[in-house]
């Protein structure tokens, strides 16, 4: 799987990617073709390089960075030309120009890297010899034609041409033959550099990428993660850049969230609009950013390396595919279960599974899912509104409403009891009074149809500022859409 397969994940990976100040279109395409890193060593190496770039952008002044960026804008994708060269074809003027252009750029960038001790982090092959071949007059200009200096006869013919324009056509034909000979000779001399040219092109894409990532770390306040040794991921004060930006536009602040998860399934419960979905989005985003070597939006992060990331969210795409939302969701989760049986290390982040079906079966499905995805190779975080027996899982709850404002902090709870704040929240949204009041009346009637002892542990003293009500009654689906996104 490559970055281009993950970029559209609803976790917001594209948002972070698009915010990179990449200078060359080629870098962008090269990054999208990057496979996801799957070993700790690989990830550690990439962060080591990135660290050096962060130090570099801290060391040098903005004009220096701007000049380097401007140079990198000249990076072109000349793989076809290099391939032709590798196959010993005779390059034409345009191709030779491309080779010379790349070589001049590579030498310039390599010097800059060396001046700042970055030449070991990313080695740009030395292409000075290529320049020598294509710059017989030593002009160091990124231009090209078959220069007069390559051949005295050519020089004479061209001189005649200028003196005697009426003979131009005839002389051009003679020149063409000589020029072709020169190009054949130049191409031959360049063949041994095909590999170095290819490496130089990739090295400069890497420089472009690392420079952009380093600047992004500074701009967004991202952190360098450590690589977890015990398969448990720990995040301190993580945030979602896209949600944070959207909130900032409305002059509101994002409340960072801390969370540790890993070996045991983790269940997150909490009021509607309590930011549960945003937590899952952020976790998914961080996992991808980690495995593609970006800065992590958190104060600190210790992240476990995975083979595959699953983010299951009740999605709108199901409508396009003609599946009901339930069917689409089941199929998505089914893929997670199948992957878990293949013994791959996976992280699964599942948002309110079985939300659209009846609470009785829904609760059973979710409880069963916790049991099925209990394996050592699975790190599961799941949000739910259903009451789940906590024996197999660790339960976290969004703190919820405190003095009229939402506290998005996650706290550990001993049982799976879900908070009952739906009516309070609906009320705070200014939803029709009669509707809310009627719901309250219904809930206050003992033994109402909503009380079904078979899948509830009955009424319990309340956890926070919610009213005493039955969990099934709190499943107010109409508010689902508001959750998270409108934090």
């Amino acid at each position: 799987m490559q970055l281009r397969d993950h970029i559209e994940s609803p976790c917001g990976l594209r948002y972070v990617f698009e915010q990179l100040e990449l200078q060359a279109g080629y870098t962008r395409r090269w990054m999208l073709d990057m496979p996801m890193m799957r070993t700790g060593e690989e990830i550690a190496r990439s962060y080591e390089v990135l660290r050096q770039f962060v130090r570099f952008v801290e060391e040098v002044d903005t004009p220096y960075i701007n000049t380097l960026q401007f140079r990198l804008q000249g990076l072109k994708d000349i793989r076809t030309t290099i391939k032709n060269l590798g196959q010993q074809a005779v390059l034409d003027d345009i191709e030779l120009f491309e080779v010379k252009h790349l070589a001049i750029l590579a030498v310039d960038v390599a010097e800059r890297m060396k001046a700042h001790g970055l030449d070991k982090a990313i080695a740009v092959p030395d292409l000075n010899e290529v320049i020598t071949i294509l710059d017989p007059d030593g002009l160091k200009m990124a231009t090209f034609y078959v220069y007069d200096s390559y051949c005295q006869e050519l020089r004479d013919l061209r001189a005649q041409m200028r003196q005697n324009p009426s003979r131009q056509e005839e002389l051009l034909a003679e020149c063409a033959e000589i020029e072709e000979g020169v190009r054949r000779d130049l191409s031959k001399q360049l063949v041994p550099f095909a590999k170095a040219l290819e490496e130089a092109q990739i090295a400069m894409a890497k420089i472009d990428m690392n420079l952009a990532k380093a600047l992004q770390i500074k701009q967004l306040g991202l952190c360098f993660p450590t690589i977890s040794k015990d398969d448990i991921s720990r995040y301190e004060a993580m945030f979602h850049p896209q949600v944070k930006d959207a909130l900032a536009q409305r002059k509101r602040a994002f409340q960072p969230v801390s969370l540790t998860f890993g070996q045991k399934p983790t269940l997150i419960t909490g009021a509607n609009m309590g930011g549960k979905t945003v937590v899952l989005k952020t976790l998914t985003l961080c996992q991808y950013l980690f495995q593609y070597g970006f800065g992590i939006p958190a104060q600190s992060a210790d992240i476990a390396v995975k083979d595959e990331v699953f983010f299951c969210i009740g999605d709108e795409q199901s409508i396009e595919k003609g599946l009901s939302s339930f069917a689409a969701e089941m199929k998505n989760i089914d893929a997670v279960i199948k992957a878990s049986r293949e013994n791959r290390k996976i992280v699964a982040l599942i948002d309110e599974p079985a939300r659209t079906t009846n609470p009785t079966e829904g609760t059973a499905l979710v409880s069963a899912l916790v049991k099925v995805l209990r394996g050592d190779n699975v790190s599961l975080v799941m949000t739910t509104h259903y009451d789940i027996e906590p024996t197999d899982a660790r339960c976290l709850r969004v703190k919820g409403f405190e003095n009229g404002t939402m506290n998005y902090e996650l706290v550990e709870v001993q049982d799976g009891e879900v908070p009952h704040e739906a009516l309070n929240i609906a009320e705070s949204l200014g939803i029709d009074k009669e509707w809310i009041e009627t719901a309250r009346e219904i809930l206050n009637i003992p033994n109402s149809v909503y009380l079904n002892p078979s899948n509830s542990r009955g009424l319990k003293p309340n956890l926070s500022n919610s009213i005493d009500l039955d969990p099934k009654g709190s499943n107010s689906t109409p508010l689902k859409k508001e959750e998270g996104g409108s934090r």
Partner: protein, 337 residues
């Protein structure tokens, strides 16, 4: 001839023909031949309406441009490979055309070249910007007044218009039609505040109210028959990003709410209205403005049509000049050379 000096006051020039065979290439070659290449860095390109197909349709050879030593030119990879001059490549752009990428080179000998440059307005603008960045002082565009072209010649600061018997062999018609196009080219720019607001908008119909707020008339094409103006009591400026056609202009004219409002189009090439409808609009007090305009430097005529009809050159120049209040040149005539 004096208009050559005029050209040097601008950093870009497009040469546009009202019709094929109106002598556009003659005008371009005339200009290229006389510009002071030794003291001005000049680059020339062509708006690439898919050159090859046009040629196949009209079955005429795409005319070659004669470049002088020291001039820069932008053309497609394919035409560069077919060049018959000595030239030095200075840039290979990411701009794609149906004939390959646009490359830029400097002519090291004089000679003929086929030009086929950027094929979109944004591509052309990028190329022009690149040229100015590498120190080119004057960019010349072999333009086209064709609906097939996405690149408008109005992106250049100045313009030369080529007209002639190929457009109409009836002198009255030719003079009237040319004068109408010249009227459109001369439409003034809208005020600066509108420019900033409207320039980025490339499609749809929009209006600006009396408080300067911008509104889009959603799901409306200016081409559609059942166009209605609703909730636009406070419309001060009406902007049509796409084509302006007769039906739309008529509706604007007949709508009492829009009596005092200014109608804005992107540039004159987006106006596809008949002279009658245009005059009625102006007579009713209508006001039309553009976002981009070029200074019309000269009009050139080719009095001979491809079918062999030749109009009297002196009369044509005189009558046209009177109608448009600008000098008109017949570059085919010997004395001009």
């Amino acid at each position: 001839m004096t208009f050559i000096d005029d050209i040097l006051n601008y950093d870009s020039l497009s040469i546009v023909g009202l019709q094929k065979n109106t002598g556009k290439t003659v005008s371009l070659n005339y200009v290229l031949d006389r510009l002071p290449v030794e003291r001005k860095r000049i680059a020339v390109t062509s708006i690439g309406i898919d050159g090859e197909t046009t040629d196949q349709v009209t079955r005429t050879q795409k005319p070659e441009i004669y470049l002088r030593q020291g001039m820069y030119f932008g053309t497609s990879e394919m035409h560069y490979r077919q060049k018959r001059i000595v030239s030095e490549l200075i840039d290979v752009s990411d701009e794609n055309t149906s004939l390959g990428r646009v490359v830029t080179a400097k002519a090291l000998t004089g000679g003929k070249i086929l030009l086929s440059g950027p094929s979109s307005a944004s591509g052309l603008k990028r190329w022009m910007k690149d040229m100015h960045r590498v120190g080119i002082e004057l960019v010349i565009i072999d333009g086209a007044l064709s609906r097939m072209s996405l690149a408008s010649p109005a992106v250049s600061q100045s313009m030369i218009l080529a007209t002639g018997a190929a457009y109409s062999t009836n002198m009255n018609t030719l003079v009237q039609q040319t004068a109408f196009v010249v009227d459109l080219i001369k439409i003034p720019l809208t005020e600066e505040a509108n420019l900033n607001l409207l320039m980025p908008i490339e499609k749809g119909v929009w209006y600006i109210d009396d408080e300067g707020a911008l509104h889009e008339l959603s799901h409306i094409s200016s081409l559609s028959q059942d166009f209605r103006f609703e909730g636009m009591d406070r419309c001060k400026t009406l902007y049509v990003a796409g084509a302006l056609v007769d039906g739309f202009l008529e509706k604007v004219r007949k709508n009492p709410k829009l009596k005092t409002c200014e109608l804005v189009v992107r540039d004159f090439t987006k106006i596809f209205v008949s002279p009658q409808q245009y005059r009625l609009f102006l007579k009713a007090g209508g006001m039309i403005r553009v976002l981009q305009k070029s200074k019309l430097i000269a009009v050139t005529v080719n009095p001979t049509s491809p079918l062999g009809v030749t109009l009297d050159s002196d009369t044509l120049c005189e009558r046209l000049s009177e109608a448009i209040q600008l000098p008109v040149y017949d570059l085919m005539k010997k004395e001009c050379n």
